[in-house]
Symmetry: C2
Subunit: 321 residues, 2 copies
């Protein structure tokens, strides 16, 4: 098989001044993962390495650059899945570690379990990886968004204009009172197929600024933030986590491949359904069992990059690219 | 619509001396939920009430009666989902609360989020529900299983006979070295359809004896432990959590209804697929949009009970019933 890889750096209203850095970050990640694939490495190694590059890049809300929750803390989520065996590993609400995707892989390979959360997960992480204190993960931007969020939140509470909690905001912003430039959805992800035809996926996120302590979005949930099955295809998602969870977005997108849709149409149908059924927006990257690669997004922008074999790296961020 | 309700009390090798109590507990839960439906109550109210009855019954591994993790602690998971809107709420790794399913409902109705985990989730729970200390949740049986597990674990480590962590055990027992009477899979769940045709589901569990701190199985994960959509049908699962997660079991079972299978065949296909693809066993209860009710299990036994309208309560635990 010709190795194929695609990454995303989040689907949201990416501001103009972050466009270039977001696309460049995706290109760097694809190059790193592609190198592994072209040397005969596994798709599992490639998606982990690519997501680590994205986690290490402070422009993305994952690993270094993660946003802060309502308490001003970093709580990160990640998953990884091996399409040959459906083995998967995930972590949620972990802190003080640089690369949650590698902890997710350790859950898959070193435990009987598929998901570890909270202090138990952080404790497991520190048995296998160095402690990385919060100070090394939090950027000035993340702190600024947190301060802005708290201010907006105080205002909306004061004037009692917050959207009712049970309503889906439907604008892809996560919170009804968080319009504008809030950095909230640049979850990162990767799907890759190696020379053996094995398809793997990985997704990692810092979540939404001002989220409740303990909140987990779609990213670490198998079927929601990612899904991979050699027989059917692989997908990684980004966008409004609660909406993605309600429709089990990646499983739906992969099911669309099973019933014969092209990757482009499979991704588009799943996103259209999510918008129509629960009012949520997001993005998807996908690879089919025959190596067809594609993406779609219902948000204003999604940073992405891909490479098929040794051809030129493709990348983009706007709808018309 | 004629109201319909079905509950399960876990799919595993239920020992003979727990048969009667398991079935009786399911019948009690169905009666409680059915009463609400026949009085015109919502399916959401019915599944919550039925699962609370199961959580309060110490014979089941959920709420009161939850098993202990590797540290001897109780960490509980639950989810609830409203098929009319796909709204859902879930909690994982919470402690010191009597009814996790009600906390899951509070997440759905009082927050912007769909899943809260760990200390953040427990802290949220205690804002809305009384603190129930561990001593009130843990039964003598749960403690006995914990002691037995630790002993067996020590033996298997000593003789180095533990199954390799990356292998699926495939026997529905959660751990390769835990055969026999270990109480581990009597996760509880309920699916109901009310007079308005709304389908809801709920699932709750204490997990597997000796699980790692922070381990989350399928129960609180949308699409895995439960799924409900008025247009497609509802399902709640039980069994080997890691296997259920890998195949996103309930979403698959509901997708089977979408493509025209009967509830019985939809449940059976999903369980057959799970056994064949990842070597895991479990059980499913389901209701179709037309009110067809059914169940299936690939474990030796599954306790269940159901009621259609005002007809007699049906119940069972063995394959030939």
């Amino acid at each position: 098989n010709t190795p194929v890889i695609i990454v995303h750096g989040g689907a949201w209203s990416i501001p103009d001044d972050q466009k270039e850095a977001s696309v460049r970050g995706c290109v760097n990640a694809v190059k790193c993962g592609s190198k592994i694939l072209l040397e005969g490495g596994s798709s599992l190694d490639a998606v982990e390495a690519a997501v680590r590059v994205l986690e290490d890049d402070p422009v993305f809300d994952a690993g270094h650059g993660s946003v802060l929750n309502e308490l001003g803390e970093v709580e990160m989520d990640a998953m990884i899945m091996d399409g040959s065996s459906l083995r998967c590993g995930a972590v949620a609400c972990i802190s003080d570690v640089a690369n949650p995707v590698s902890v997710a892989r350790a859950v898959m390979e070193k435990t009987h379990h598929t998901l570890l959360v909270g202090p138990g997960a952080t404790s497991f992480a520190h048995k296998h990886f160095p402690v990385t204190p919060k100070e090394k993960l939090v950027t000035d931007d993340a702190r600024a968004y947190y301060e802005k969020y708290r201010y907006q939140s105080a205002v909306s509470n004061f004037f009692n204009t917050t959207a009712t909690p049970t309503e889906s905001c439907g604008d892809g912003d996560g919170h009804g009172h968080e319009h504008g430039g809030v950095q909230g959805h640049d979850t990162v992800g990767c799907v890759a197929m190696d020379m053996q035809g094995n398809i793997a996926c990985a997704t990692s996120t810092g979540g939404i600024t001002g989220k409740m302590a303990g909140r987990v979005g779609d990213s670490p949930l198998v079927g929601c933030g990612g899904y991979s099955d050699n027989h059917s295809g692989g997908a990684s998602s980004t966008g409004h986590g609660e909406s993605i969870t309600k429709v089990v977005l990646c499983r739906r997108a992969v099911s669309n491949l099973e019933r014969g849709l092209s990757v482009q149409n499979a991704a588009q149908e799943a996103l259209d359904y999510m918008l129509q059924r629960v009012g949520g927006r997001g993005g998807l990257i996908m690879i089919s069992p025959t190596g067809e690669v594609g993406y779609a997004f219902s948000t204003p922008r999604m940073a992405w990059a891909s490479r098929v074999g040794t051809s030129d790296v493709q990348c983009g961020i706007d709808k018309d690219e």
